[in-house]
């Protein structure tokens, strides 16, 4: 395409040159003709007019008159001449006179008046002379004398005529010379012009020649290059004309197809290397392309197809066909690569990958199942141990129970880690961010680990810097897990000295970077081993403590989790001095978090009101343990063995809380919850706590969708149960859906009085309506900052009144407005109005209740 444009450009350029050259030659010929004509006429003039003897003829007139005069004088003096002789002289003189009156001599005198006045008397002489000479009879002396008189009279005239002739002739020849000089100059000019033109043409020709030569050389080079490229190509290159006839077949093509170049040239692609089953399609495709010019394979980039070797076997090829339009038709160039080997390798790789994936999946599956299977009995063990500790024990028994609990806890930790590993590897590790108080978290952690340190006579110090003494929103459980691991390791590998945990942080605009530095005074880790400790299954040394473990998974998992949280764990260590493991985690500050759902209320001491509880669990031991635990706390427990049983039991009486195992035969917990929520039975609104031996993430979403209020991983410990019950019992007696706002509102009404709060509420809802109306009327259409401002204002009021249902969406709206995103504004406002309506209804009720 490029070449053809370039070619046509060339063509017009060449035509232009040819026209110029032809025009130049035409001009040249014309000028040459002109010049030749000019020169020839000049030459003729030179050889004739300029060269005649008119001057001589004129001067002879004078001579002959002198002769006549002399003859006449002689005759008169001596009288010895014959008449004939005298008459001859007269005749000669007369003949000279005739010369003056005719031919070119007359031309010399032309229209000269002077000549005329000189010649006229001569003609009179001629008449007289003829009269005398032709008179019959011999010449008389008187006639002769008379004649001599006339001759002598005209002689001065004759003389003057001769002189005039000379001067006129000279003038004329001068004129001729001038004309000639002019013509010569003109001719010279033409000659110079011709030379210049010829020079120009020669330059042009030279340029064209050089260009042609250069182009020739370029073409030769590129054609050589092309030839060698085609010949040396690793891909088969086959060229065919529009009838599919093969016109080019390179060496690689010979190798690939098994055809020799000589035997395949002239045959068609269809008859040679296109598989039989594809020949029809190829034929139609070619025809279609030639007819419509719509390519499918041609010029369509790389495609994978099948081809046929001469031996008849079919093999996969990668094909790229391009077409070139020639004057005489279309040429197709096919670049063909034998990809059979690649395909085989690909298949091998795919098989290997599939195998590996299957194995891996099986491994993960096994680990997950094992973890689950181990957790279920652990649930029983730990539960029973917890229960055992609530009974009267001897100090020895208590110690045994303690050991058993600790061992079970380690076992639980191991199963959890195994699960984490599979989750990390399968990419299903999910973070569960929640609100938490950072100082509380680290303090409780240190409290738990402090006994371990004390056991090895190690000090465990905690330092929390001022700026991070606050609440954050992050996966606190994971932070706790990592810190437990780091501090646990520090205790494990330190023989004497102390362990320090220092918490510091930097507050970014939205997110804070919180750093936990765990420092020990242990043996330290050599630089070359520092990265190694983070690898799977690497344990550099076996600790001596009770916690000794050899799988080396702890740090590896910790780092992986930290990285998933967007942070990292780094190590700085010096052999003999100690090590510092630093965990850095980005955490959202709590005030940034729009809704605060998890209200951590402290436990145990809360009112021990007896509740009616339903425990749904298929595992007899676990059901028994959980039941015993709950009964031990003073509650009434009803047991169900599966979902179906649960529905049966729930049908007859209302429960305060239902503990629902997720995985159960006959009907699982999810299904049972869904049914409960859907039916309009006595337990449609009951607080349901899901329990699972799987990781907490696996079923969370499903459980929440089914309508579970909480979700807890087994084993559920006594401590956890206390806090759960306490939290739930605070909610269960409050009117439905108003648990959250009630607190703020109650406080407010206590502080300000019910009437005042009621008034504020009315004003708030009034403002809200105005706000909605403003948005609907499009007042903020082009003014997103104003919308953000208005949203912010209303949001603040909603928060003040504890209207969290409104506060959340309003905060969302404010954020969107600040970001300039006003999509679905109408529907969002509509949703807000819906919420406003219901909250407004609830508002008065709550206020009335709180007053009691």
């Amino acid at each position: 395409m490029v070449t053809s444009i370039w070619g046509s450009h060339m063509k017009t350029g060449l035509n232009g040159y040819r026209v110029a050259i032809l025009a130049g030659f035409g001009l040249l010929v014309l000028l040459l003709g002109l010049m030749t004509t000019n020169l020839l006429s000049q030459l003729r003039d030179l050889s004739t007019a300029a060269g005649d003897n008119t001057q001589w003829s004129i001067s002879q007139l004078d001579t002959e008159f002198a002769n006549l005069n002399a003859t006449l004088s002689d005759q008169l003096a001596k009288g010895d001449l014959s008449d004939e002789e005298v008459q001859l002289r007269i005749d000669i003189a007369l003949s000279r006179l005739d010369i003056i009156n005719s031919g070119r001599v007359r031309g010399v005198f032309g229209e000269s008046k002077e000549a005329k006045t000189l010649i006229t008397p001569l003609n009179a002489f001629a008449d007289a002379a003829i009269a005398i000479s032709d008179k019959p009879g011999p010449l008389t002396s008187s006639a002769l004398r008379e004649l001599r008189g006339i001759v002598q009279e005209v002689r001065p005239n004759v003389r003057k005529i001769a002189l005039l002739g000379v001067s006129l002739e000279a003038e004329q020849s001068q004129q001729r010379r001038t004309v000639f000089a002019q013509q010569l100059a003109r001719t010279g000019g033409i000659a110079i012009a011709l030379l210049v033109l010829m020079g120009g043409l020669m330059l042009l020709l030279d340029r064209l020649l050089r260009r042609a030569a250069r182009r020739d050389a370029e073409l030769l080079t590129s054609s050589k290059l092309l030839t060698s490229t085609v010949a040396a190509s690793l891909d088969a290159i086959v060229t065919a004309d529009d009838s599919g006839k093969i016109v080019g077949f390179n060496a690689s093509a010979e190798d690939v197809f098994g055809w020799a170049r000589e035997e395949i040239i002239g045959l068609t692609m269809e008859d040679t290397f296109i598989p039989h089953r594809m020949r029809d399609a190829h034929h139609n495709g070619m025809n279609r392309y030639l007819k419509t010019g719509t390519p499918r394979v041609v010029d369509g980039g790389r495609v994978e197809l099948a081809a046929l070797r001469k031996s008849g076997e079919e093999f996969p090829v990668e094909l790229n066909i391009t077409s070139i339009e020639y004057d005489e038709g279309t040429k197709f160039i096919a670049y063909i690569r034998d990809i059979s080997e690649r395909k085989i390798n690909e298949q091998k790789l795919i098989d290997a990958r599939d195998r590996a994936e299957r194995t891996d999946k099986a491994k993960s599956q096994f680990l997950t199942v094992m973890s689950h299977e181990m957790r279920t009995p652990l649930n029983g063990i730990l539960g029973v141990l917890d229960l055992l500790k609530t009974t009267q024990l001897t100090p020895k028994q208590e110690r045994y129970a303690q050991i058993a609990t600790a061992s079970s806890e380690i076992l639980l930790e191991h199963t959890n880690e195994a699960l984490d590993i599979t989750r990390i590897e399968t990419g299903t590790l999910q973070l569960t961010p929640q609100n938490f108080d950072l100082p509380e978290l680290v303090r409780s952690l240190v409290d738990v680990l402090e006994p371990l340190a004390r056991e090895k006579q190690l000090g465990l110090t905690l330092k929390i810097e001022e700026q991070v003494r606050m609440g954050f929103y992050a996966d606190s459980n994971r932070v706790r897990q990592i810190l437990t691991n780091l501090i646990g390791n520090a205790i494990k590998f330190t023989e004497d000295g102390r362990i320090g945990l220092k918490v510091s942080g930097i507050h970014g605009p939205v997110v804070s970077s919180v750093t936990f530095a765990v420092t020990d005074t242990g043996a330290g880790i050599a630089l070359e081993h520092q990265e190694q400790v983070f690898e799977d299954f690497v344990a550099l040394a076996h600790g001596e403590g009770r916690q000794t473990r050899g799988d080396g998974l702890g740090l590896s998992i910790s780092r992986k989790i930290a990285r998933q949280m967007g942070g990292d764990i780094n190590l700085m260590s010096e052999v003999g001095t100690g090590s510092t493991f630093t965990l850095t985690v980005p955490m959202q500050r709590r005030e940034e978090v729009p809704q605060a759902d998890a209200r951590v209320t402290d436990t145990r001491t809360e009112d021990r009101k007896s509740l009616t509880l339903l425990v749904v669990e298929d595992n007899n031991i676990n059901r028994k343990v959980l039941g015993d635990m709950l009964e031990g706390m003073g509650h009434t427990v009803v047991e169900a063995v599966d979902g179906e049983d649960c529905l049966k039991k729930a049908d007859s009486m209302p429960f305060d809380i239902i503990f629902m195992d997720i995985s159960m035969p006959v009907m699982d917990g999810i299904e049972a919850t869904r049914t409960l929520r859907a039916d309009d039975g006595p337990n449609a609104q009951t607080h349901i706590i899901g329990l699972t031996a799987h990781g907490r993430e696996e079923y969370r979403e499903e459980a929440e969708q089914a309508g579970m209020d909480r979700f807890h991983t087994k084993p559920i410990r006594l401590d956890a149960l206390y806090s759960i019950i306490a939290e739930v019992s605070a909610l269960v007696h409050a009117p439905l859906g108003a648990a959250a706002p009630s607190d703020a509102l109650r406080e407010l009404s206590q502080a300000l009085g019910q009437d005042k709060v009621s008034e504020i509420g009315e004003r708030f809802f009034g403002e809200l309506d105005i706000f909605f109306a403003q948005v609907r009327q499009g007042e903020f259409k082009d003014d997103t900052p104003a919308l953000a401002e208005a949203s912010h204002k209303v949001k603040g009021a909603a928060a003040l009144l504890g209207q969290h249902d409104l506060e959340g969406p309003l905060a969302d709206l404010e954020r969107s407005a600040r970001a300039g995103d006003l999509s679905a504004l109408a529907s969002r406002i509509e949703a807000l109005e819906g919420i406003a309506k219901s909250t407004r209804a609830g508002f008065t009720d709550i206020l009335a209740n709180s007053a009691k």
Binding site: R44, S47, T48, G51, D52, N53, T54, W56, S57, Q60, T63, E64, N67, E84, L88, D91, I92, L94, S95, D98, I99, S102, G103, R104, V105, R106
Partner: protein
């Protein structure tokens, strides 16, 4: 310079021809006197009749001395000299007024110049450049329109001398 043997043969030849050539004892006004320095023979005087008896050449041309086209007829000089058998390399042409001009015989052509005996079919009087006029067919070829040929175009011719 001349070889006696060759001269004798020429003399004999001239005697044979003498019936048509009268020796120039007293030159007639219309006669053409031809002398050859190499031969010992008497000069010959050719009359108009003698000239008319030779092969005639006629052409029409303009001249620089006359107006319009003129028809000339007469005997080519080359043929005339050949007829007389004169030997020489140069011919001197002399007019009545003794104007003389020479011309190499080698330059004579078969039909130019001619010794014109008639102009427009009429014999020429002395007043009219007669009796004889050596003319070239000037219009036939530019080569005749040269100064040399104009000077050789002698009129009132009455003598020819063939010289070595």
């Amino acid at each position: 310079m001349t070889k006696p043997h060759r001269s004798r043969i020429l003399a004999a030849f001239l005697v044979l021809l003498s019936y048509s050539v009268t020796p120039a004892t007293g030159q007639d006004m219309m006669g053409l006197l031809v002398t050859a320095t190499s031969s010992e023979t008497e000069p010959f005087e050719l009359s108009l009749e003698a000239l008319d008896a030779l092969d005639q050449v006629e052409f029409t041309t303009t001249t620089i001395w006359t107006d319009g086209e003129t028809r000339f007829s007469g005997v080519p000089l080359k043929a005339l000299l050949a007829h007389l058998g004169t030997v020489g390399s140069i011919v001197e042409m002399v007019a009545l007024n003794d104007y003389a001009v020479t011309m190499p015989i080698a330059e004579l052509e078969d039909e130019a110049p001619i010794v014109a005996t008639r102009m427009n079919g009429e014999t020429m009087s002395v007043r009219d450049k007669g009796p004889y006029w050596v003319v070239f067919p000037y219009d036939n070829d530019p080569k005749y329109s040269t100064e040399t040929n104009y000077s050789r175009s002698i009129w009132q011719l009455n003598r020819l001398k063939v010289m070595d």
